[in-house]
């Protein structure tokens, strides 16, 4: 492919300027920029920008940063830029996808907004389009249509950009936050934004060229762009896109529209335009950003953008039409530029570019545009870039390899920037937000200046461009041992599958559904060669703000494989559709022909089921063989001496009293209580009694229910009695001397009680069960806690709890375990009761309501969430995938009832699942594979519902493409799940070896097959560059660490968490985020619910980042640490912590006071934002530099060396050694 050619240049560049290369790599990651200084400068100046910029900087940054830099740099940059573009394109694409999915979930309006918003970022993303076929068409389209309009568009876009940027600035944060914000921040942002689009254009251009040479890649990008666009435009799907484009164009400038129309591929172009427009609109629409914010809510990272989109939504729709065009223009221009390179292409490209406005036309437009477009551009902000394009054309010819050059040229021109930015944005949105405004403008100027240089360089660039085109950002080789700042400063986003625009916009949100490989290998042999795990990570019951709910008499499904109709099926004609999983042709039922949304007939492809990859059906009575069960809650409480001493009863009863009315359910909701010590106590709460009646069963060997009824009572009818009981419970056992705990018999009683209905059993246990069935002995040897050799007893001691869980599962009862224990309680055995009944596990080590107030507060917060969150009963989840793929192992809490069916007695929004896949048959005859999860459950209101998620991924045949599509976070989470299984079935050391081998195998497979770089250096594709870091983090995680004192229960709990936490939360547990918080700035901040949330850059987890003058926040998922340095500024300590100086800070501080200062407000809003939407409420510890608690904090600095474990660098050397063996 083109990649090879491209790669050499890059490599050369990297070698010639190792640092640069490194920087570039880092830029991809964190955007270190060409030079370290840039980072600092940019970061400070343009906080958010830096990262993005830096990234750009490689390609763009040079111009932007040093904008005017020497030609040499320019040249080098272009190359980088190209790479960056590609990369960015990929990234952006991914981001777009991510965004779009969200959008999809959201209401149409919102979605649209999102899409639009996203588009801007996407524009960069658009590059991804290159991936596929769509791209080529797009490019053509661009070419044809773009010329005239492009210039105009550019102009328009420029203005739009400005407006957008301004608006973005205000809004920006929310959405992509950093990214958008950055763009918005300033014109600079726009430039960046526009650039992204441009880059996209470049890709197109490249595609054009490539099309000649290797069109595929670029086309893909185009597609991605278009997809992005489409995603943005979502409201108007493919068909709509053209209209939108038109609108946009119209709004923007008539020209572009016509041109597009001319292009025919219009859809693609339209998409592009849309994307562009979309991007612009977002920028323009600060409101939109806000919208995005709202959207963002669902997912934190993603969330941000979404949030912005919400705001946008209103504005967006309006703005989108107008604004979108501008963005589109910008984007187009880049494209145009790309096309320009090739002379033929140029002409076409010019045309197209003009039409497209910004993208491809650049070069073409340059000449023509320069005259007209440029001025406009300049006036707008993009003007400078426009001129560049003009020069570009010339260069492009020179490069003969026109395709490459053009693309390169285009990229350099700043179009590249845009793309890069998007990518960056994806990677490091926050940065952008930082210093957007000023940088952006300056960047433009720079660009303009650069452009000339660029032109000169263009030839060189052109050569590079090919390479870049060939090599997507995700394939850029990164020299791990030389890359100091591997961690991006912004949260890592999921890569976007390399699909065409339409599919991209339709695809499922990565928050709900992720695959470890976004490019599915064609054969098992290829997968084996890549040495990467293939699997899915699911979060199927996630809280969604927008979810299309469909009520219909017939749910359309494939007749052979029972797949639900989804956006990825194909309609053969109006009456028939072809299943995308088994390829059977099905009839479209009459009812499906009518679209209730548009009230039109005969458009089955516009039904919501076919427009959204996440939908929920209200199932008909066919889906139930008994009436939907009521919500039934049973609380099984330990009231032995130990439990009373710990004092959890007070907190539980208080929480229950407060949330009694918020328990999900309807009028049939039932509730019951069982307490136990050495006997079992039941409570008769039958309506009509004057007070609760306690019934004691002391025969624990043969438990029976004292009364068949009235132990589970209707919540509403017996509310007073329940309240009486809850008020009395905490004091009823205060004088108990019973130390035994008959948990097993109590659970058997609970099972008997729940059998007729099913429901949820919440078990509170504080010690080892010591009586009756299921009694356990202490198995932990404290002397072995820090053993480096064998960790025993990770498996259950008895089958009792497992068997009980299976019985419960069969009766649709889930058991949730709250373990509040100060000593060893054999969690590995007790956890079985939840694991196999689809329950959840909460663990509070050394819980005491007064001695350990932070744990008490944690319990309180988590109980609140636990009691009020959504719940689904008697659920089953089936996962289907395209013929040829098969699932083998499942991870999570459930019972596997059939090879693809999970039985879930309860489903809660915080449950995550993982599935391992294998490829049984060659997928050579298909280009796409789909995965569908269908979750059938009974809602707390007694409705039977089916939630369906569908994910579509491309199939690739080359190893390089497989590596390009790795989703490193998903891969790590899947590996962690597999390692837990391995630890339990064989041994912990075996699991640790397997983790290290996973890195060694994949990196050596990469270096031996994909990259032709010598083996003396440790090279990873950019998509995998975080892989060793994350694996090291896993090895130092509580679950897998050795050599550090770890209590067995803590370890087992960490393993349970790995098994059942969804990816977003799991990643924080594996690799915490470190922020410096003593000088939070509003730059790059996002808006959430009227609050300004600062977005400090993420620091790498190393003590070298800690300075005594600073204060740092570490977000470990379920714990926050604030580390205060010895010489920390007293104003920070006073303003935020509320103490006059460092010495006066208490050793145990778990709260931040609400002070009336700006920095306090910022810090608290940041922490609150981090806390939101987490299933586990994090405890906050303020750790002083000299306090003993700091060891806890330092344990999480995983890049540093500890007595028992490697530092990151040592780990890399170890891997390298292993590879060389």
């Amino acid at each position: 492919m083109s990649a090879p050619a491209g790669s050499p240049p890059r490599a050369a560049g990297a070698r010639s300027q190792p640092k640069l290369g490194g920087a570039a790599a880092s830029g991809a990651a964190a955007g270190p920029g060409p030079a370290p200084p840039p980072q600092n400068g940019p970061a400070q100046n343009q906080m958010p920008v830096p990262s993005a910029y830096e990234l750009y900087s490689q390609s763009y940054s040079i111009p932007s940063g040093h904008h005017f830099q020497g030609p040499g740099k320019m040249t080098s940059l272009p190359l980088d830029g190209q790479c960056g573009d590609y990369y960015s394109g990929f990234y952006t694409a991914s981001t777009q996808n991510a965004v779009t999915p969200k959008t999809t979930h959201q209401p149409p309006g919102a979605e649209q907004v999102y899409g639009r918003l996203l588009p801007a970022p996407h524009s960069a993303g658009s590059t991804p389009e290159c991936f596929q076929g769509a791209a080529s068409p797009a490019s053509h389209l661009y070419v044809s249509a773009s010329q005239p309009s492009s210039s105009f568009v550019n102009h328009y876009s420029g203005p739009a950009m400005y407006s957008a940027s301004s608006s973005a600035v205000s809004q920006g944060f929310p959405s992509t936050c950093g990214h958008y914000a950055v763009s918005t921040v300033s014109n600079a942002v726009y430039p960046s934004v526009s650039y992204p689009s441009l880059p996209a254009g470049e890709p197109y251009g490249q595609q054009m060229f490539t099309s000649q040479n290797a069109s595929t890649v670029r086309p893909v990008r185009d597609n991605s762009f278009s997809s992005q666009n489409t995603a943005l435009s979502r409201p108007s799907p493919l068909p709509p896109p053209p209209p939108q484009q038109y609108h946009q164009q119209h709004s923007l400038s008539g020209y572009s529209i016509p041109s597009w129309s001319a292009s025919g591929p219009p859809s693609a172009q339209d998409n592009l335009i849309r994307n562009h427009a979309g991007s612009l609109p977002p920028a323009n629409n600060n409101p939109t950003n806000t919208v995005a914010d709202s959207l963002s809510c669902p997912v934190t990272q993603n969330v941000q953008p979404p949030k912005s989109s919400p705001v946008v939504s209103t504005a967006v729709s309006a703005a989108s039409s107008a604004r979108l065009p501008p963005t589109a223009n910008h984007l187009v221009e880049p494209v145009a530029s790309v096309t320009q390179p090739s002379e033929l292409l140029q002409q076409k490209g010019i045309d197209s570019s003009s039409t497209t406005s910004s993208a491809s036309p650049l070069p073409n437009s340059y000449d023509a545009l320069e005259g007209g477009g440029y001025p406009d551009m300049l006036s707008s902000s993009a003007s400078s870039p426009a001129p560049d394009p003009a020069p570009e054309p010339d260069p492009s010819p020179a490069p003969v390899p026109t395709a490459p050059q053009p693309s390169k040229v285009a990229k350099p021109f700043g179009y590249g920037y845009p793309t890069l930015q998007p990518g960056y944005q994806n990677a490091a949105a926050p940065l952008h937000s930082g210093g957007q405004p000023s940088p952006g403008y300056s960047g433009f100027q720079q660009y303009a200046q650069q452009y000339p240089g660029m032109n000169q360089l263009s030839s060189s660039l052109g050569g590079l461009s090919l390479q870049s085109a060939a090599q997507p950002e995700s394939l850029r080789p990164v020299n791990l041992t030389q890359e100091r700042n591997i961690l991006p400063v912004t949260p890592v986003l999921a890569p976007v599958p390399n699909l065409n625009l339409e599919l991209k916009k339709l695809n499922c949100s990565p928050d709900s559904f992720r695959c470890t490989l976004t490019n599915i290998p064609q054969t098992q042999a290829l997968l084996t060669k890549a040495k990467l795990p293939l699997g899915l990570l699911l979060h199927p019951f996630r809280d969604l703000t927008q979810l299309p709910v469909i009520t219909s008499n017939t749910i359309v499904r494939c007749r052979s494989c029972r797949t639900y109709i989804n956006p990825f099926v194909s309609f053969i004609d109006q009456r028939r559709w072809k299943c995308n999983l088994c390829y059977r042709v099905n009839d479209v039922p009459e009812e499906f022909m009518y679209n209730p949304l548009t009230r039109s007939y005969g458009e089955p492809h516009k039904r919501p089921e076919v427009q959204n990859s996440t939908v929920e059906f209200i199932a008909s009575s066919d889906y139930m063989l008994r009436p939907p069960q009521p919500a039934v809650y049973l609380f099984v409480l330990d009231v032995s001496h130990n439990a009373v001493e710990a004092g959890y009863l007070t907190i539980l009863c208080q929480s229950l009293l407060e949330n009694l009315d918020k328990l999900p359910g309807d009028s049939r909701t039932r509730i019951g209580f069982v307490t136990f010590d050495s006997t079992i106590h039941f409570y008769n709460l039958q309506d009509g009694l004057s007070q609760p009646q306690m019934l004691i069963v002391s025969d624990i060997d043969d438990v029976f229910l004292p009364t068949p009824d009235s132990l589970l009572v209707n919540l509403h009818e017996s509310k007073e009695l329940i309240k009486d009981l809850l008020n009395a419970l905490p004091n009823m056992f205060t004088n108990t001397r019973e130390t035994h705990s008959a948990l097993g018999p109590a659970l058997q009683a609970a099972f008997k009680l729940m059998s007729p209905t099913g429901g949820r059993v919440s078990v509170f246990q504080t010690q080892l069960p010591s009586l009756g069935a299921g009694l356990l002995q202490s198995r932990e040897d404290p002397n072995q806690r820090s053993s480096t050799k064998v960790v025993q007893h990770l498996g259950p001691a008895t089958d009792f709890y497992k068997k009980l869980a299976l019985d419960c599962s069969g009766q649709q009862t889930a058991v949730d375990l709250f373990l509040l224990s100060s000593q060893y309680s054999d969690l590995s055995s007790l956890a079985c009761m939840s694991k196999y009944s689809a329950g959840c596990i909460y663990y509070y080590p050394s819980f005491h309501s007064t001695h350990n107030p932070s744990q008490a507060e944690k319990l309180q917060n988590e109980l609140k969430r636990y009691l009020t969150r959504k719940i689904g009963f008697e659920a089953v989840m089936r996962i289907r995938c395209t013929k040829g793929l098969s699932m083998h192992t499942f991870h999570g809490n459930f019972f596997v009832r059939s090879t693809d069916l999970l039985s879930l007695a309860n489903i809660n929004p915080d449950a995550g699942f993982a599935v391992q896949l294998s490829i049984e048959e060659s997928l050579a005859d298909t280009s796409l594979v789909c995965f569908q999860t269908a979750l059938l459950y009974t809602s707390s209101k007694g409705e039977r519902r089916i939630r369906v998620h569908t994910l579509c991924l491309p199939v690739v045949s080359s190893l390089a493409d497989v590596y390009a599509g790795v989703d490193v976070q998903a891969a790590i989470c899947l590996l962690a799940n597999m390692a837990v299984d391995r630890s339990i079935s064989t041994s912990l050391s075996d699991a640790r070896d397997a983790l290290v081998n996973a890195v060694v195998d994949s990196l050596s497979a990469y270096s031996s097959t994909v990259s032709n770089i010598q083996h003396s250096v440790l090279i990873a594709p950019s998509s995998l560059k975080l892989f060793p870091l994350y694996v090291l983090a896993l090895l130092k995680q509580k679950a897998f660490r050795t050599g550090t004192s770890t209590r067995l229960d803590d370890r087992v709990y960490a393993m349970c968490q790995i098994k059942c936490q969804p990816l977003v939360h799991l990643m924080k547990m594996i690799h915490p985020n470190l922020y410096r918080i003593d000088r939070l700035m509003d730059e790059g901040a996002i808006h959430v619910n009227d609050r300004v949330v600062p977005q400090p850059p993420i620091q790498k987890l190393s003590a070298e980042k800690l300075t005594r003058e600073g204060a740092f926040l570490m977000d470990c998922g379920c714990v926050f640490y604030i580390w205060v340095g010895k010489s920390c500024d007293n104003t920070f300590i006073e303003d935020v912590l509320g103490y006059p100086n460092f010495a006066s800070i208490p050793q145990k501080m778990t709260h931040l006071p609400e002070l009336d200062t700006l920095s306090s407000e910022r810090t608290i809003s940041f922490i609150t934002w981090l806390r939101d939407s987490r299933p586990l409420s994090p405890v906050l510890y303020v750790v002083k530099d000299e306090s003993p608690a700091k060891t806890e904090f330092f344990q999480h600095l995983i890049e540093d060396r500890t007595e028992a474990a490697f530092s990151y660098y040592e780990f890399l050397l170890h891997i390298q050694q292993q590879i060389c063996k």
């Binding site: 499904r557 029972r562 199932a619 066919d622 889906y623 139930m624 063989l625 008994r626 069960q629 099913g758 007893h793 498996g795 259950p796 001691a797 008895t798 089958d799 497992k802 869980a805 299976l806 599962s809 069969g810 009766q811 649709q812 055995s829 694991k835 196999y836 008697e874 089953v876 089936r878 098969s886 699932m887 083998h888 192992t889 499942f890 019972f895 596997v896 009832r897 059939s898 090879t899 693809d900 069916l901 039985s903 269908a934 059938l936 039977r944």
Partner: protein, 166 residues
């Protein structure tokens, strides 16, 4: 022509081998039943079906349990096979013993490697439905069937050989 101890061992083995073949076939049928599930989603959504299905899985796993008063299949199989080995050891039939020892060790490993410390189950109901576990179990059953069938004919041959040669 003499009726030696070795000949007696082979005759007994021949009979018991038929029993082992039956066990292997039973395993195959059981796992096949586990693998097959109703394709109708409606059935799967039905709690009644869920219970039935679960009971089915448990029943099969319990039938395969190591020690049981009721229909335990695993322990008899393992003990019969161990008996072979002991008999051949006594009869000093080294070749036959050598052929059986690998399986004997496998059985020991399988017996002592169980889901829980004090587990009675050789097959773990929650895990057995994982496709790779299930396919492993199926393969195991097929391999054993093949092994027992071959050894059946081998014993037959050896029996006749010892009878004739001595």
């Amino acid at each position: 022509m003499a009726f030696t101890f070795a000949a007696f061992c082979y005759m007994l083995s021949l009979v018991l081998c038929a029993a082992l073949i039956f066990f292997a076939i039973w395993h195959i049928i059981a796992f096949d039943e586990l693998r097959t599930d109703f394709k109708s989603p409606i059935d799967q959504g039905n709690p009644g079906h869920a219970r039935e299905r679960l009971r089915n899985i448990e029943r099969i796993c319990f039938l395969l349990r190591k020690v049981s008063a009721r229909a335990a299949l695993v322990l008899p199989e393992y003990s019969i096979h161990s008996l072979f080995c002991i008999m051949f050891l006594c009869a000093q039939e080294w070749l036959t013993l050598g052929l059986n020892v690998p399986l004997l060790f496998y059985h020991f490993w399988r017996y002592f490697h169980c889901p829980a410390d004090s587990s009675e189950l050789a097959y773990d109901p929650p895990a057995v439905m994982n496709a790779d576990t299930l396919s492993y179990c199926q393969k195991e059953a097929w391999c054993k069937l093949a092994f027992y069938l071959l050894s059946f004919f081998y014993y037959l041959y050896c029996m006749i050989y010892t009878l004739v040669s001595s």
